[in-house]
Amino acid sequence: MTGDTAHNVPAFAPDVFVEGAGGSALVGGHCRQCGSTWFPTAERCPEDGTRLEPIEIGRTGRLYSYTVVRTKAPFGLPEPYGVGYVDLDDVPLRVFMLLDPAQVDRLAIGAPVRLASATLGVGLNGEPCRRPYFTLLTDTQ
């Protein structure tokens, strides 16, 4: 799932993740007023209405739970494909995310994971697009 580049392929949605030389990260929303972080981000903090500021989060985490979906995949995703909830290492958030389609037979609760991204599936209008996903750390070291 690595090696392809982001050239001219749009992200599946804005303000969800970034791709750079340092790898991929999720884009959360940080509240200066109460210190909370939200993912996906929103305009304002649901707790106090403060305008949220973008913050890069979630480069690594641990798998809280997962499943492998074996029905017809939506949005041109691979069949089968994995999804899971990941407890992020850097902020106290449990986020839903795609998992590396190449690893669906090796997933385990508690496994350390790292964020990656690739051209994966299609967008709302059927166009190829970039999506973030977590990949098992043990496979990439």
Binding site: F12, A13, V16, W38, P40, Y64, S65, Y66, T67, V68, V69, R70, T71, K72, A73, P74, F75, L77, Y81, V83, G84, Y85, D87, P92, L93, R94, F96, M97, L98, I109, G123, L124, R131
Partner: protein, 379 residues
């Protein structure tokens, strides 16, 4: 106090030759006839339908259906609240009568969804989670994986929920599935989302269910009135970190219902809950306090939730075997409990049932449900 004075329901299944309006009118007419009241006595209508707008471009169907029954001029509301559409309509009607706004209202849930090309239900195509592959079975499959991890719940225990459901469904002529299925059969079915097989996911269906609610004043004349003690509607807390196996929104809604009805889990004789998946029934049994957290799988496998067991759950067959016409389900649960409390449930009668509980949930947001309802009824 509010009572259910009339019930009506169609068989759940494929009604390819019938429109939403025909299905809805059939159930509503049956409920009105069962109540012994006339259409002129109905002061409001609450009509739930979740998918008609998306599938057929049908909106505000309630007025048309009820007009055919002669219910005109009065307030009619169309209600969409995902899988709790029907139970949310009930909640609205219950509140109106409790508030003294009216003496009689009809509640109808109707769905026609057996159409070609209907994919897996999700929580809205534009939601980020949906675009990252979150289909409803995946959401519950992840809960199942975590439940197995934390509590040692086995796939066989989860499958026993389905085997029990099929046995119940076989006793309900209104149910879509009428055939027994063993634990081995359930586990041998194709995987939909690990560890859930196709048998552990509820089937879609067409169908309609209706109830007539009445105030004390009116219910006094109804010989077979069943009290609707309380109806609670809540929405998600969307807490992060969400505990996926101790469902706060589920247990909070249950607790509110118990408090308001002045009863506890030990007082309940039968439960209809939102068993959209095998694991869902296990989680709801725990949230409703029928067993301690983590024990739901063992509860089902031990037969305690079977007809004749300590606390029968989904004796109608539930969503898993009766089928799940989305907006009809919440009302169908009430119809089933009323039949049971009247002693009119035939081969699936829970002997001596006095108090029943109905629970529904719908929608998916941030690892939580968007909507949750609990109603408690008694005779």
């Amino acid at each position: 106090m509010t009572a259910v004075v009339g019930i009506g329901i169609t068989p759940f299944g494929r009604h390819l030759d019938r429109t939403i309006a025909q299905l809805g009118a059939t159930a509503a007419r049956a409920a009105l006839e069962d109540s012994g009241l006339t259409s002129a006595q109905v002061e409001a209508g609450y009509v739930a339908n979740a998918l008609g707008g998306m599938l057929f471009g049908d909106t505000t169907i309630g007025q048309g259906i009820l007009a055919e029954l002669g219910i005109r001029r009065v307030p009619v509301l169309n209600v969409e609240n995902a899988c709790t559409s029907g139970s949310s309509a009930l909640w609205l009607a219950w509140n109106a009568i409790e508030a003294g706004q009216m003496d009689c209202a009809i509640v109808l849930g109707v769905e026609k969804m057996c159409v070609p090309g209907l994919g897996l239900i999700n929580s809205g195509r534009s939601e980020i989670d949906t675009q990252l592959g979150l289909v409803t079975p995946a959401s519950f499959a992840m809960r199942a994986m975590r439940h197995m991890h934390e509590f040692g719940t086995t796939r066989a225990q989860m499958a026993s929920v389905v085997a029990k459901s099929r046995a119940h469904g076989a006793r309900n002529p209104l149910a879509l599935f009428q055939r027994q299925e063993t634990v081995a059969d359930v586990l041998a079915a194709p995987l939909v989302a690990d560890p859930l097989t196709r048998s552990e996911c509820c089937p879609i269906a067409d169908g309609a269910a209706a109830v007539v609610l009445a105030s004390d004043r009116l219910a006094r004349q109804a010989p077979r009135a069943i009290r609707l003690n309380t109806a609670v509607l809540g929405s998600g807390s969307y807490e992060n970190l969400a505990d996926m196996v101790r469902w706060e929104t589920d247990s909070r809604t249950a607790r509110q219902a118990y408090e308001r009805a002045g009863v506890g889990p030990e007082d309940i004789d039968l439960v209809e809950c939102h068993d959209a998946f095998s694991i869902a029934e296990i989680l709801h049994c725990e949230a409703l306090g029928l067993c301690p957290a983590g024990e739901g799988g063992r509860l089902a496998a031990a037969g305690e939730t079977s007809l004749g067991g300590r606390i029968p759950v989904n004796v109608s067959g539930g969503l898993l075997s009766r089928g799940h016409p989305v907006a009809a389900t919440g009302v169908a649960q009430i119809v089933e409990i009323v039949m049971q409390l009247r002693g009119e449930a035939g081969a699936r009668q829970v002997t001596g049932a006095r108090t029943g509980l109905a629970q529904c949930m719908g929608g998916d947001r941030a690892g939580d449900t968007k909507s949750c309802t609990v109603a408690i009824l008694s005779r």
